[in-house]
Each structure stands twice: as C-alpha cells, then as structure tokens.
C-alpha cells in the first residue's frame, strides 16, 4: 500500500538564501533553496544556524550574497539592497521567546499587528493567557505567545530558532502539537532551526544540515535522514530514517498499533493516532538489525524485506547501510565486522529487524 507524499515537497520556491559571511573563526557560506513547508536547519552549535536566520531577519548583515523570499528581495549585495528588519515581514520566534516584560500577553501579541488575531489565538490556545504578564508564564506558554506574536504581523516567512531548546521534555510534548497544527494550517513557509533530530523528524518537510558554516547535505527530510552520508554529521546515536505510515489496525489485546507503509507493516506499542491517520515515525539506525535470511524464533515483531542501496564505512568501527523498503528508505548501522562477515553488498535482498519499542513516543507525530 503506497502512502501519499507527506506535506508539500518540491513545491514552489519560497526562499532562496545564498550568503557569505566571515566572522572570526568560521565563515558562513551557504546556498539554500527552501520550498514551501517546514525547512529544518540542523547542525551542531557553532555551525552557523543562528547567523543564518539572523541574516534572513536582517539582524546581522552578510558580507555578500542574496536573500529572496517569494518575490521580495530582502538582501542583495550586488544591487546594494538591504531591507531593514521592520520592512522584511519576517516572523521570528527566538529561543528565549523575548516577550516584552512590561506588556500584557495581549499587548505583546498585537505589537506587530493583529492579522488573523482570532484564529491565531484559537490555534495556539492563547485565550486564557491574554491578560497575564510574561513573567508569570511557563516556558511553553511563552513560546506559544512568541509564536502568536510573530504570526499576527502577517509574515511572509516564519523563522524559529530552537524554540523548544530551553524546554524540558514534557513542555516540548505539550507545545509540539501546536506547531504541527500551525504547519498544517498556515501557508507561511517556516525555517526551523534545531539540533534535536526527533523534533526535525516530526516537523520538517525539508532538511538542511549545516556543518562549520557550509551545507553538508540537504533535501526532503526522509531522504536526508535515511542517507548513509548523514551518519557522521548527526552522530551515530541520532541518525535514523523517517517514514510516513498509515494507521491500519489495532491489536487491542496486545496493546499494539499496526502501521502500514510502502515497505510493509510495522507493529508499534500503544494505541497511536486514529484509524487511517498518517503518522511519521523515526527509526534510529542503531535500532535496525540486519539478517541474510528471514529470522525465526525471535522476539522482535517487525521484520521487513529490504534491498541494500548503499554501504558507507564511517570513521569508527561502524558501517552505515542504506536500505530500500518499498518506496521508502531506511538506514541501519552495523559494525564493519558484521558487514564483512555477512558479505553485505549493494543490491542484495536481506531482512531488516526493527524492535517494536525502538520508536519512542516523542518520535511519533501526526
């Protein structure tokens, strides 16, 4: 059963940013084309993510290059165009929210305008907060207000710089559904900076991985995260494919949910989503086991027939193995020794074993 492509992919070009900036130790030198939807900028701290979004917002000035959003040229060093921040119509959600402490939530929200105010207040659940002061809000509430404030100035692009980084896991879980709703309900393209793979996997349609100020890899999130090239960039523990599945059945007695995707069927613990709903799931590369023959007598529930598309040795003892399951890409990481002993080769038909508990709830998004 084929799954429809998730979100808008390869749609109209919304943002072109091609900039160079020298700042002391490292230089930023990128050329990124972001389509509609959520483009995640991923990278370690110091990789240039914040410099990049600040350049889009006009808070820092690149040395050379060009930034175009939709039809509007925000910056063009050759044509000496450099729109000041107030004229850029960029909604910016900062990691530390940056709410004005001397204003009520209501005045914070309408500081830049009141575009679509009722709807924004509704989708972000801000009604009960309107008359409160920022000092009395929790971290998650602050970020919701900051997001609402950015949306109400009717931005043509939304920048989110690690909006969840300062929150603990339970606050993140509380605010992520709002972000997902926003992504699905607005047509504003979103640039989402993060260093958390599970956030990226859950929200993004396009992924750009920055490394030392340069684009290391970019493309649709499923492709990038399942590419063996990405393993050294994300680290062996965080690399892993993202696939879109459909809720196909429930095994109430065993408390399992059956998810269908182009490569077969997966059973996941718990009662996830609604019947027929699309769910993204992330399968960390280190939780995928490879077998030459269909295994028997094993406790793992999910065994998928796959084809090896790529084998990429890393710097350490590991080997990243790209796998094709139906129309989807998976990623496995095995030791070099196992890969040699199993005589793995591109084009081979083998089996991928995925433990049902491998995907944590934070990795499952609608």
């Amino acid at each position: 059963m084929a799954v429809a492509p998730y979100g808008a992919q390869g749609g109209t070009l919304m943002l072109r940013i091609c900039v160079q900036k020298n700042q002391g130790q490292f230089g930023l030198d990128v050329d990124i084309n972001a389509p509609a939807g959520v483009t995640a900028i991923f990278g370690r701290s110091g990789s240039g993510k914040t410099t990049l979004v600040n350049a889009i917002a006009g808070l820092s000035r690149p040395d050379t290059g060009k930034i175009v959003v939709g039809e509007t040229v925000l910056f063009d060093s050759a044509a000496r165009v450099n729109l000041p921040p107030p004229l850029r119509r960029v909604g910016y959600v900062f990691q530390d929210a940056r709410l004005f402490p001397h204003m009520s939530v209501r005045r914070n929200l309408t500081y830049g305008g009141d575009h679509d105010a009722a709807h924004v207040i509704d989708i972000l659940g801000l009604e009960p907060l309107l008359d409160r002061r920022p000092a009395g809000l929790s971290g998650g509430e602050r970020q919701r207000v900051a997001l609402g404030r950015a949306l109400m100035c009717d931005p043509q692009i939304l920048l989110m710089d690690e909006p969840l980084a300062a929150l603990d896991a339970s606050r993140k879980a509380e605010i992520l559904p709002y972000f997902e709703r926003l992504r699905d309900e607005t047509r504003v393209p979103i640039i989402y900076v993060s260093h958390d793979v599970s956030e990226v996997a859950r929200l993004a349609t396009t992924l750009v991985v920055l490394d030392e100020g340069k684009v290391a890899i970019s493309g649709p999130v499923g492709q990038v995260l399942s590419s063996p090239d990405v393993v050294p960039l994300l680290g062996t523990r965080t690399a892993g494919a993202v696939i879109v599945t459909r809720v196909a059945g429930r095994l109430l007695d065993d408390d399992l949910t059956e998810l269908q995707f182009s490569g077969g069927r997966l059973l996941m613990p718990g009662q996830l989503g609604e019947m027929g709903q699309l769910l993204r799931i992330r399968i960390p590369a280190q939780d995928v086991i490879l077998a030459r023959e269909a295994p028997t007598g094993m406790s793992a529930l999910n065994v998928l027939p796959v084809t090896i598309t790529e084998i990429r040795p890393g710097r350490g003892p590991g080997v990243a193995v790209g796998l094709r399951a139906g129309d989807d890409q998976l990623l496995a990481r095995v030791t070099r020794r196992s890969a040699g002993r199993m005589e793995l080769a591109v084009g081979q038909q083998i089996y991928a074993i995925i433990k049902a508990t491998a995907v944590g709830p934070e990795d499952i998004g609608g």
Binding site: D96, F100, Y111, G112, A135, R149, A150
Partner: protein, 231 residues
C-alpha cells in the same frame, strides 16, 4: 520652624528648588541621549565623550565654576552669543545657577541611566524590529519603558546633587540673595554672621527633609515601576 526661617531664608529655599527642578528637567533628555550613545553605540571619540561627561565629577567644583564663567559669562564665547541672539543672560542670574547645577548633576544622571540601558536585553529591541517597529518606536515602546526606573533614579540623584551644589555655583554666579543664593550658599553666608545659628538650623533641617523626601518618593515610584515592567 517658621520662626527660624526669615524671608531671605525662604527665598533661598524656593530658589534652590527652582534651580534644581529646572536643572534636572533640562539635563534629563540630554543625559538619556548620551547614556544611550555610551551604552549602545561604538563610535570614534566615545572614550573622549565619556571623559568629558565625567569631568565635573572629578574636577574641583571651583574649576568647573571658573570654566563656566569664562565660556558662559557675559564676556565668554557662548555667553555673549546667547545674550546677543536669544537675549538669555546666565552670569549672576538664577539661570546660571541652574546651568551650574545641571553640569554638576549630569555625570551622575548619565551613569544611573546608562546602567539601566545596559541591563535591557538588546534582543528585545531586535525582536521589536522584526515585528515591524521603526527605531523610534522601538525606543519609545520598548527601551524607554524598561529604563524608566533608572531614569527616575538618575533624576533623583541629579536633583539631590543640584540642591547641594555649592562650589561651581558660587564661583560662576556668586551668592546674590534672591538671585543666586541657594540653600548651601545661604548656610555658608549665615555661618559668617554671629548669632544666626537658628536660621542655619532651619535651613539645615529643610535640606535634610528635601533630600529624604526625594529619596522616599523615588524608592516608592521605582518599586511601582519595577512591578509594572515585570521584574
């Protein structure tokens, strides 16, 4: 109290209040501007500006008074210009006393306000800019409300300094009763005359009451404002 204070003492008190209030009101906008420049901008001559602003704090007040006399006096370059063009005369007038008080209070006001501006997160101003606010609107709606408590602190400090200013004032405009004789110069003058202790005690008491009153009012206001800005 009223028996202690004669008409000339009352004149000195009213003059001191007028001089201090006018000095603070006129110097405040300039102090906010200079404090903002020193706190936020990097420009050529910043250290020089900083030094000039602080000079009255470290110079002997008599020297400051003398410098005022040679520049703002009738024969001075700025003094004669003001007199000819605007008809404003500063020498030996209460306006001159206000100028001396303003110059002496200026560094204290700038220091207090600058501390407040440095405590405002520039990120908030950046956020306001991305929300479409012009520089002026950012300053008026974000920076200014957040530094109000420190502006107030600077104003009170400046007011107290202006009330107590003696050396520069007496050098620049002397101590003409009813014209330029403020509380400190009145006290000093009375001390030269035998048998005037009651009037001295009266003026000293008034000086203490004014200083304490200003301090209490500013504490109360800044407490209210601090609550309003959510700190």
């Amino acid at each position: 109290m009223t028996q202690l204070l004669g008409p000339s003492e009352w004149a000195a008190i009213m003059l001191s209040l007028r001089v201090a209030v006018v000095a603070v009101i006129c110097a405040l906008p300039l102090a906010i501007g200079v404090a903002y420049l020193l706190a936020r901008k990097r420009f050529f001559g910043r250290q020089l500006l900083n030094g000039i602003v602080h000079l009255p704090l470290v110079l002997p007040p008599v020297v400051t008074g003398y410098l005022l006399l040679v520049t703002f006096g009738k024969q001075g370059p700025i003094g004669s210009f003001l007199e000819q063009v605007f008809g404003i005369s500063l020498g030996f007038r209460w306006t001159g006393a206000a100028l001396a008080a303003a110059v002496m209070a200026f560094p204290l006001m700038v220091r207090a306000i600058r501390l407040g501006i440095e405590a405002v997160d520039p990120g908030l101003e950046g956020a306001a800019a991305t929300l479409g606010a012009s520089r002026t609107r950012v300053f008026l709606t974000v920076t200014l409300p957040l530094i109000l408590p420190s502006i107030l602190a600077g104003a009170v400090l400046g007011f107290a300094k202006a009330l107590g200013e003696f050396g520069a004032t007496i050098t620049f405009v002397a101590a003409i009763p009813g014209q330029t004789q403020t509380i400190p110069s009145a006290i000093y003058g009375l001390l030269q005359v035998p048998g005037s202790e009651p009037a001295v005690v009266g003026l000293v008491t008034v000086a203490i009451i004014l200083a304490m009153g200003a301090l209490l009012i500013s504490e109360w206001l800044s407490h209210r404002m601090a609550r309003r800005v959510g700190r």
